[in-house]
C-alpha cells in the first residue's frame, strides 16, 4: 500500500521513466512482442525515418553478370518508379550492357577439335549477350530495418523483391559453330551469330540503404530470364545443319545503385 501511494505522487515524467526502466529490464522475456506504453504508443522504435509513400524514385545502377562464364556482360540500368505506399512501387527500367565473349570462350575456341562431318555435335549453350532492354517492374518491400554501426551510427535499410517483364535485344555468337563451311579451323570472326528482340522477364531482390531522406544506395541480385536456343546435332562442316533446341536462358546480375527520391 505504501508503494502504491508513492507511485501516485510521482510526476508523470518520472512514472514514464520508471516504466521505461521496467521495459528495459523485462525486455528479455518478450523479445519480439510489441509492448505499449501508457500513452498508447509502442515502447519500441517503430517509426520509419524515411517514409516512401507517394514518392517518385529515379535510380541508376551498374551491373555485372554473375552466371555467364562464357560471356562478359557489364552495364547500366536506369529506373523510374512510383511508390504507392510504404512497401510497393512500380515503374519502368531501361538497361544497356557492354557484351563480349569472355577469355574462357576464347580459350575454348583456340582448342576446338578438328571439324568433321562424321560426329554430329551440339552447340555450347548459354552464350547469349543481353545488349539492352526495357522492362516494366513492380517491387515489394516487406522489411524495413535499422542497424547500428559501432553503437553510434544508425543505418536504415529496406529489403525488397522485384518482378518485371519487357523486351530485350539479344546478340548470339556461337563459341563452337562456324559460319563458314569446310574442315579447316574456323577463321576468327566467322562464327555463327544472330540478333533478335525477344521477351524477357526478371526477378530479384536487394537491400536499400538510406543515406538521407532523398538519397539511398542499394545492392541487388536479379535474374533476367528469356527464351533462347542452341543448335543440336550439327554437322560441323556445314553451317546450315543442326536443329534448334529451345531452353530458358538466364543472366543473373549483381548491381550497385544510387537513387533519388522526390
Amino acid at each position: 500500500m505504501r508503494l502504491q501511494s508513492t507511485v501516485h505522487r510521482l510526476p508523470r515524467a518520472a512514472l514514464l521513466a520508471a516504466l521505461a526502466l521496467v521495459a528495459l529490464g523485462a525486455g528479455s522475456a518478450a523479445a519480439e512482442d510489441v509492448i505499449y506504453g501508457p500513452d498508447g504508443a509502442p515502447t519500441v522504435v517503430q517509426r520509419k525515418l524515411y517514409p516512401m509513400s507517394n514518392r517518385w524514385e529515379l535510380g541508376l545502377r551498374l551491373q555485372t553478370s554473375l552466371n555467364t562464364p562464357l560471356v562478359v556482360q557489364d552495364g547500366a540500368l536506369l529506373d523510374l518508379s512510383y511508390h504507392t505506399n510504404e512497401w510497393f512501387d512500380f515503374g519502368g527500367e531501361l538497361f544497356g550492357n557492354y557484351t563480349a565473349l569472355s577469355n574462357l570462350a576464347d580459350v575454348i575456341r583456340q582448342k576446338l577439335p578438328e571439324r568433321t562431318a562424321t560426329t554430329p555435335k551440339d552447340e555450347i549453350a548459354n552464350t547469349d549477350q543481353l545488349r539492352g532492354g526495357f522492362l516494366a517492374v513492380a517491387r515489394v518491400a516487406p522489411i524495413y530495418g535499422k542497424i547500428n554501426l559501432a553503437s553510434e551510427i544508425n543505418v536504415h535499410f529496406q529489403t525488397y523483391l522485384l518482378l518485371g517483364a519487357g523486351v530485350t535485344m539479344l546478340h548470339h555468337e556461337s563459341v563452337n559453330l562456324c559460319a563458314v563451311g569446310g574442315t579447316t579451323a574456323c577463321p576468327e570472326g566467322d562464327f555463327q551469330t544472330n540478333d533478335q528482340i525477344t521477351f524477357v522477364g526478371e526477378l530479384g531482390g536487394g537491400f536499400r540503404f538510406y543515406l538521407s531522406e532523398h538519397w539511398s544506395l542499394s545492392a541487388e541480385v536479379r535474374a533476367f530470364l528469356y527464351p533462347s536456343q542452341y543448335k543440336a546435332d550439327n554437322d560441323l562442316t556445314n553451317p546450315t545443319s543442326g536443329t534448334e533446341t529451345s531452353y530458358l536462358g538466364s543472366m543473373v546480375s549483381f548491381s550497385l545503385g544510387i537513387a533519388r527520391l522526390f
Binding site: A14, L16, A20, L24, A31, D39, V45
Partner: protein
C-alpha cells in the same frame, strides 16, 4: 528525493544506451534539438518518447547449434549442394568460437564443364574442377553490427551482421566421367587438403532461441592434385594402357577406378599430368536455422 533518484537513474540509462544496439528517437517531432527527450520535460513532450530498446536477450555465454544448407554460388566448373552442422559458443555478445562440418552429397562438374566434355572434348584442369566432398572448420565469429527490422510494419525482429574465419580440412575428389557416359558420373579420390573459410552474413532472431542465418562463405582449399585414388601420374598412365594388369605403386588402388579402369585412369592421368599450386575458391551461400541453448 526518491523521485529525483529515479529520474536520474532513468536518464543515466537513457544516455548510456549508446553501448547498446539501439538509440532513442522520438515518434513525433521533439522539442529537443538533438532529437532525444529529457525525462524532466512537460507531459505533452514526454508522451511522445519511445524508450531506448535494450537488447532483450544476449547470446553471451550460450551455445548455438546451427543446421545449414550450403549451396555453391560460383558454379563455373563445379556445383555443390550439401548440408552443414555448426556448434558455436558465444564467449561474449559479439564474439564466438565455432566448429562446423560440411558434407556435399551433390559435388559434381557444372553444366558448363559437362558441355565442354561432350561438345568440344575439353575439360578444365584438376585445379579448377576439384570437388569438395566434405570438410570441417574451426574458427571465430565476430558480430559487430546489431539492428532490427520490421515486416510490413508489424512484427519486429532483431538481427546481427557477423564475420567469421576458420581453418580446417577438406575431403576432395575429381569427377572422371560425365553424366552422359555409359556408366554415369564416376569420381576419383584426391585426398584431404588444408582448407580455410572466410564468411560474412547475418542472423535474424526469430525468438530468443531460434535464429535464421544467411551467410556467404569463401571456402579456400589447396588445388594441388598429384594422385587420384592413391595413384600418381605414372600409375594412371599404366592403368590406362594395361587396365587391372598394370604394375603400379603400393599406394595405388586400381579397383577404385571400377571394373574397367582404363577410361577413368586416362582421364585422371590427363588431369594430374601437370599439378597446379593454385587454390580453389568455393564461394558458398549458407542458409540455416540455429538454436540457442
Amino acid at each position: 528525493m526518491r523521485t529525483h533518484a529515479l529520474i536520474v537513474f532513468a536518464l543515466a540509462a537513457f544516455l548510456g544506451s549508446a553501448a547498446h544496439a539501439q538509440s532513442a528517437r522520438p515518434i513525433a517531432p521533439a522539442s529537443a534539438a538533438d532529437g532525444t527527450q529529457p525525462a524532466g520535460e512537460s507531459d505533452d513532450d514526454v508522451q511522445a518518447v519511445h524508450v531506448v530498446e535494450k537488447r532483450p536477450f544476449t547470446e553471451g555465454g550460450r551455445l548455438e547449434l546451427s543446421l545449414f544448407a550450403p549451396i555453391q554460388v560460383n558454379t563455373k566448373f563445379t556445383a555443390h549442394i550439401g548440408m552443414g552442422l555448426e556448434v558455436a559458443y558465444h564467449i561474449r555478445e559479439n564474439l564466438a568460437v565455432q566448429i562446423g562440418g560440411l558434407w556435399n552429397p551433390i559435388a559434381q562438374q557444372s553444366t558448363l564443364t559437362e558441355e565442354l566434355v561432350n561438345k568440344v572434348n575439353q575439360q578444365p584442369l584438376a585445379a579448377d574442377a576439384l570437388l569438395l566432398q566434405a570438410g570441417g572448420l574451426v574458427g571465430l565469429e565476430l558480430m559487430p553490427i546489431y539492428g532490427k527490422l520490421n515486416i510490413f510494419d508489424g512484427k519486429i525482429l532483431k538481427l546481427g551482421f557477423y564475420l567469421n574465419v576458420g581453418l580446417g580440412l577438406a575431403k576432395t575428389e575429381l569427377q572422371l566421367q560425365s553424366s552422359s557416359s555409359p556408366e554415369g558420373r564416376t569420381f576419383g579420390d584426391t585426398g584431404i587438403r588444408p582448407m580455410a573459410g572466410l564468411g560474412a552474413g547475418f542472423r535474424v532472431f526469430l525468438t530468443d532461441r531460434f535464429t535464421l542465418r544467411l551467410e556467404i562463405r569463401d571456402l579456400v582449399y589447396s588445388a594441388y592434385v598429384s594422385t587420384v585414388n592413391g595413384c600418381n601420374y605414372s600409375d594412371t598412365v599404366a592403368i590406362s594402357h594395361n587396365g587391372t594388369g598394370a604394375t603400379v605403386s603400393s599406394s595405388c588402388n586400381i579397383s577404385a577406378f571400377g571394373s574397367d579402369p582404363k577410361g577413368d585412369a586416362a582421364v585422371a592421368a590427363a588431369q594430374i599430368q601437370t599439378p597446379s599450386a593454385d587454390v580453389v575458391n568455393n564461394l558458398t551461400a549458407y542458409l540455416g536455422l540455429s538454436f540457442l541453448f
